[in-house]
Amino acid sequence: MPPSIALRVHHALPAEHRDRLLRVAREVSFPPGTRLFDEGGHADRFWIVRDGTAALDLHVPGRRAPVVETLGVGDLVGWSWLYEPFVWRLGAEAVTPVGAYEFDAVAVRLMCLDDAEFGRAVEHWVGRVLAHRLQAARTRLLDLYGPHNSGGAR
């Protein structure tokens, strides 16, 4: 199974843990342009996208926050809720109308503390998502499509 699919919650968590997690989800929707969170804010929620596209951006003083990645159906939006100090490292905004499962971070963290197996499964899932995104970011650092990568300089 390719990494991107394996990381989707439906594949990444064992059925019993997945069902437990989804039981505490709320279905929400965001019109385009809605800010889901801003860099530096308190990470008290997270989402799994059901439909639409959300963009992750990074604050750069004096200019519009550049988008660094977009997330789509099945993707996890937000991981800072799992790790202290629970502060968003990036911002996120709905690019299109977004439908998502929304989770309360405190409730899920308590569930993780309450049930070590569940906690390990959730941490493993989020950790794999992070590793996948780190690998993608490193690959993009290669500037693959730049002129120096267009064959020999002839």
Binding site: M1, P2, P3, S4, V67, E69, T70, A153, R154
Partner: protein, 268 residues
């Protein structure tokens, strides 16, 4: 095929991006043999030299088109050519995409950067005969919106799904940002009966082909276009050797079943 350059006149020049142009060429005399999508020509810029360039269009009306990025002396000379200028062209060379082997199957095209140019004639040929294929999905990765070639044309392609993602969006870009492989999740092809065609920088080819193989696309049905230093294009000079392959003759398009091992070796 001729190994002596034949004069072709530039009949149109279309800037694609700041450093990339498409040249439409017509023969001054007898034309070269027909090019198949994926094959390449050695294009000669008089006074500078020649470079291998895949065809980006093979119009039924005759002639050729090449999409060229200025990355060195010869390619810059070609990019500077104007309508009326004469270039030397020899070919056709190499193994093409062999689209006909995909008849009756879903078709997935994955292009990175200027890698879209060699895939363009394949896409147009497949779209011209939709009943011959299943789904046709086209996935494109580019550095930025400004560096996307054939941008207006892409929007008109009647594919099942066309996805475009960039690494560096500008202020107006409302599309996807990220690796081209993330678009594979949106293309609802049936892996076991899919043929994929991949062209772009080699790390992108590797990542894409591995992902496709993970999904269940047979390795021999993943066709990749490899770029090496083709000098003679006739299998004599050895500059384009990749392990047991002389890519000017056995490629540039090869199956992933053959290419995977060769692209995993640190030094060949």
């Amino acid at each position: 095929m001729t190994d002596v350059p034949v004069p072709y006149r530039v009949v149109a020049r279309r800037p694609e991006t700041a450093d990339t142009v498409t040249l439409r060429l017509e023969p001054l005399g007898a034309p070269l043999d027909d090019f198949a999508p994926g094959q390449f020509a050695m294009v000669h810029c008089f006074g500078r030299g020649e470079i291998p360039v895949s065809v980006s269009s093979v119009p039924a009306t005759g002639g050729l088109a090449h999409t060229i990025r200025a990355v060195g002396a010869v390619s810059a000379g070609l990019c500077a050519a104007r309508a009326g200028d004469v270039l030397g062209v020899r070919g056709p060379y190499g193994v093409g995409w062999e689209l006909e082997r995909a008849r009756g199957r879903d078709v997935v095209v994955v292009a990175g950067g200027i890698g879209l140019a060699p895939l363009r004639p394949l896409i147009l040929r497949a779209l011209a005969e939709p009943a011959a294929y299943g789904r046709i999905d086209v996935l494109i990765g580019a550095r930025s919106p400004a560096e996307l070639i054939s941008r207006r044309e892409i929007e008109r392609w009647p594919t099942a799904y066309t996805g475009v993602t960039v690494d560096r969006p500008d202020r107006e870009w409302r599309g996807d940002v990220g690796l081209v492989t993330t678009l594979l999740d949106r293309a609802e092809f049936a892996p076991a009966r899919t043929t994929a065609f991949v062209c772009g920088p080699e790390p992108m080819i590797r990542a894409t082909a591995r992902d496709l193989a993970f999904r269940g696309v047979p390795r021999d049905r993943i066709r990749v276009s490899l770029e090496r230093n083709m000098r003679c294009a006739t299998g004599h000079c050895g500059h384009c050797q990749l392990g047991p392959l002389l890519l000017c003759r056995a490629g540039p398009v090869v199956g992933w079943d053959e290419a995977e091992r060769l692209l995993s070796v640190r030094e060949l």
